[in-house]
Amino acid sequence: MNLTARLKARLARTHNAIMGGIESVLGMGTRKESLERLEEALITADVGVKTSSEIVGALKEGFKWDKEGLSERLRASISGLLKEVESPLVIPPGVVPFVIMVLGVNGVGKTTTIGKLASRFSSMGKSVILGAGDTFRAAAIEQLEIWGERAGCPVIKHSHGGDPGAVAFDAVKSAVAKKTDVVILDTAGRLHTKVNLMEELKKIKKVVNREIPSAPHENLLVVDASTGQNALNQAKLFNEYVGVTGIVITKLDGTAKGGIIVPIARELKIPIRFIGVGEGVDDLKEFNAGEFADALI
């Protein structure tokens, strides 16, 4: 398959382009060519065809038409767009317990993110309780327990195969009784298209809501940065079913850019809270629009 070899050469070019910053792809070509290159760079970062062409199409005049000017303009445009969803997770004073329900499709990093969050809150002097709501996947409970140990916070659990709603109920009850500051509920990974699983999520939410009328205070959707266009569907459907109030983008320590967050931000305007940049307990950073835009292109 000499196609593979040819492709490798081509890819190396795109790769350098992305790694070396957008300036390197903007050669000496015409304006049209330069804009096409920009669009290509965005598509290659998973921003999607439609959004990429709209963003590039909106770059009109008002900047110096050279490499630096053009890339600066594109960065500013994307960072401006993302600025609208740059909104850190703040626990309002007096809301005790603050209940966070963590959602997402399979394997995106929900449980790990919960571990990181728990440590973060603990180090801020808040007490935390975790709810092992993934009663489906093998050893999911034990996985969360290890994270609970790392963060030094208790984990409320039932047995494998148990009712996740009942786990949520117990976790919230226990937090109310002990006046714990934060409850973080893990949920099993589920594809947004599986109706019965999405209904189950709704039920968990309802159980929490019955105990504390304002809860869950945060429905945190976890999105894997390497996901392509499907992430938009994920965000839409999770949002439709239970309402998503915040997003975490994980695995940004890889080579994927997480560009799909741009159309998600544009269409759904859901705050992006954190980014995951590794498997360690400290590998969670607050989302920053400017930094994200810089890394994207």
Binding site: T4, L11, G228, T255
Partner: protein, 441 residues
């Protein structure tokens, strides 16, 4: 999202035909749609370019344009080329070495551990005697995860017993496997990034010890443009023999399949289609081609329907209909079967032409409706389900309260059930296997 490529192309070609025959010049607008479809399916940008230039050559060479049905012909060329690129036929596993070792690697969370168990179950079903080895000491509870899965599928799992090093685990596991006479060793490894030099070196080390007969990349089918870099990264480091694409039970179009195939040249051997240990299937290039292009996949639909409605159930149902003893219990059971096939929308988009129909008529499939109906039926007593005739106003009000629905909802359900029964009587002769006739939409 799935207003299929076929409909779009049909439209364009119809327009073009008005202006005379299709030429090399105006074929560009058709190719543009194909390009768009591939990009929307997450096929890597550079891969798309290559693929399009290949298809163009093929299409021009085949007198597609002279055909009376150029749209269909063109789509066929695209689809065939895509399927051929994805792999001509299903690819088999190799079992070389004593015992043969299958090593699974990939990014974090792609599905390696689950797939290790799925593969073991599949091989066991084929009469082999597999042994699974948990060589992931990094992820919390990863070893326990594989242990539990192996218990569930009744396959032996290597006892890590406090070992702190994957190299040590693999060496010892291989020794034990030889002694105990397992004929296939499946090694689950920790998730890692292809750019993590230290962890990729670890993987190389494991490969050296294991001399595996298969080195499989387990990759998430929802992956975007990065699929190429991941696949190449792993291939260059450890030399893949194939790919397993997981989570294809999602509504992702799965363009990553093409990206990985073209960029590594390695076959896709299996696909993961559920979280359960029986959710592993042989990869079919032609079906994947249809999926990537967003076209109807009748074969998959038929198979899904067959899997969900087991032959036995279908015959049972048929008998009930013949005898006219179809109760609300049966109705509920039937809805469960439909649900098991996945989301209604995704099922319906597998029917060719349905995409266009849905768009034209603004049809919307209400997924939640099924769950609502189920809730209502669940609130009935066994007697009410068996003899719906007794559902008077008082009973209906109680059921409405119990299920959190309105009395109107309950009335509508009872009416729907009646209609369904009537319809079934009419379909009696055709048999119950023509499922789509009774979809509640």
């Amino acid at each position: 999202m799935f207003d299929g490529l076929s409909e779009k192309l049909r439209g364009i070609i119809k327009d073009l035909k008005g202006h005379g025959t299709l030429s090399e010049a105006n074929i560009e607008s058709v190719l543009k749609e194909v390009r768009l479809a591939l990009l929307e399916a997450d096929v890597n940008f550079t891969v798309v370019k290559e693929f399009i230039s290949r298809v163009k050559g093929k299409a021009l060479g085949q007198d597609v344009l002279l055909s009376v049905t150029p749209a269909q012909q063109f789509i066929k060329v695209v689809r065939d080329e895509l399927a051929a690129t994805l792999g001509e036929t299903a690819s088999e596993l190799e079992f070389k070495g004593r015992p043969p070792v299958i090593m699974l690697a990939g990014l974090q969370g792609s599905g390696k551990t689950t797939t290790t168990a799925k593969l073991a179950r599949l091989l066991k079903g084929k009469g082999r005697n597999p042994y699974v080895v948990p060589a992931d000491l990094a992820r919390p509870a990863a070893v326990l995860q594989l242990q539990k899965l192996s218990e569930e599928i009744k396959v032996d799992c290597f006892d890590v017993a406090g070992r702190k090093d994957p190299v040590d685990i693999c060496t010892e596991a291989l020794r034990v496997a030889k002694i105990k006479g397992y004929d296939t060793v499946l090694v689950d490894t920790a998730g890692r990034l292809h750019i993590d030099a230290a962890l990729m070196d670890e993987l190389k080390g494991l490969k050296e010890i294991l001399s595996p007969s298969e080195v499989l990349l387990v990759a998430d089918s929802m992956t975007g443009q990065d699929a190429v870099r991941t696949a190449q990264g792993f291939d260059e480091a450890i030399g893949l023999t194939g790919v397993i694409l997981t989570k294809l039970d999602s509504d992702a179009r799965g363009g990553a399949a093409l990206s990985m195939r073209i960029s590594t040249g390695k076959p896709i051997k299996f696909i993961g289609v559920s979280e359960k240990t029986d959710g592993l299937e042989v990869f079919h290039p032609d079906r994947m081609a249809g999926r990537i292009l967003g076209m109807g996949d009748v074969l998959t639909l038929v198979e899904k329907a067959q899997a969900a409605i087991e032959e036995k159930d279908a015959r049972e149902l048929e008998k009930k209909i013949k005898k006219d003893t179809f109760t609300l219990d049966d109705f509920r059971e039937h809805l469960g079967q439909i649900k098991r096939m996945g989301s209604l929308d995704s099922i319906l988009s597998m029917i060719p032409g349905f995409g266009a129909l849905k768009k034209a008529k603004g049809l919307k499939v209400d997924e939640k409706e099924i769950s609502r109906i189920e809730a209502i039926i669940n609130s009935m007593t066994a007697k009410e389900r068996k003899t719906p005739g007794i559902l008077n106003a008082g009973r209906r009000a109680r059921i409405a309260r119990g299920s959190g629905r309105t009395v109107q909802d309950v009335n509508r359900l009872v009416k729907q059930y009646g209609q369904m029964r009537d319809m079934m009587k009419r379909f009696k002769k055709g048999g119950m296997r023509s499922l789509k006739n009774i979809l509640p939409v």
